[in-house]
Amino acid sequence: MIAMLRIGIGMYVLSPPPWTPAQLFSDGQQGGYYDTSDASVRYIERTGASATTPAGVGDPLGTILDTSPNANHVTAPSDAARPTVGDDGVVHAKPDGVDDVLIGPSLDGIGFPWTLACWINPASFSGTRGLVATHFVGTDYNGITLYSQSDGTVQVLFGDGGGAAPDARRSYITNDATPVGQWSLVVAECRGYDDLNIYINNVDKAFTISGGAAAVSFAGGNISLFNAAAGFSPHKQSRTLIYRGILSAADRTSLYELGP
């Protein structure tokens, strides 16, 4: 939509439309955008596009509709797996850290590049907790996953497709942590093997590499929020992006300035 600004009597100029993450997908890129602050995309039922009952604050969240053109809606695999809609000034998803997860369609065989991003507000940290993943397959480590670690650092993991042998997976863990009790935007831009950047609140963070040299496995798997292999997340989470591409600096800043 093109907006017009009135700058004087009878004078109008065209102004650019406000930036939205949906614009990232204008050239048909794969991925999804899950905006928990948008009441029109939250539903209680876990039936995706056919869900009918809006999920208000305090309700279980069975579906988040993808507002990218891909319609990669995420749904809970069971009633028990639904997180709760919370509101701390930001309307968000609050998974219970026990069994809550939302899963989207499979992205079979899609390799680099990928950007994963989400806003999180942790109350505390314990264990390795999945935030968002490109190729979730049960307890196996596939695709690219963004984790929150037990000390609040952020981990990007390239999964080798196996459920064991962690030395065969490539891990990138930031030296800095996300704070407790505050909303932080974490962004991982993954161009290829050992070629990535991790941002916390739009600041490029140094990271430590560990693990093996095996190629990341993109051989099938689903989009997932709040869980991937290592553990279910208890962190408040909002505005989650999975994007088969790399953000420009301007887009990353716009995503940050959009807020949680």
Binding site: P60, P77, S78, D79, T84, V98, Q155, A229
Partner: protein, 128 residues
């Protein structure tokens, strides 16, 4: 509809498949043959493998599940064609007898209390 309750339940690992079938029969999940499960939280006495128990933690819209459970523990099952869900009445009763449940308000998730009461720990898969 409001969701005032939180329900946590844990069953022995050997009953996990029947637990998921029961959840399917009650409309809480799809057919388990699709890969869907309700009992996904793996537990053991020291948090190491193998899992000896599985559980779930959920919001509940009303006391319907609790009422079903209490009735079942008293020997009365809701009228469901259990065999259509791969169950028998006896297996459902056995399952419900073995199921440990905690119910509380949603503001006070009962999961930790239930796990502590049973002397269990959540299985942690290896650090990623």
């Amino acid at each position: 509809m409001t969701y005032p309750y939180a329900v946590s339940a844990i069953i022995p690992a050997a009953m996990r498949d029947d637990g998921d079938r029961l959840s399917w029969a009650l409309g809480y999940q799809p057919d388990p043959s699709t890969g869907a499960r309700t009992f996904v939280a793996a537990l053991s006495s020291d948090g190491s493998e193998p899992a000896t128990h599985y559980g779930y933690n959920a919001q509940a819209a009303a006391q319907d599940f609790v009422d079903i459970l209490h009735a079942a523990k008293g020997g009365t099952l809701v009228p469901i064609d259990w065999e259509a869900y791969g169950l028998t009445e006896k297996r459902v009763k056995d399952l419900l007898q073995a199921m440990e449940v905690e119910v509380s308000s949603k503001d006070d998730w009962p999961w930790d209390a239930l796990v502590d009461r049973l002397g269990l720990m959540t299985l942690r898969t290896e650090e990623a």
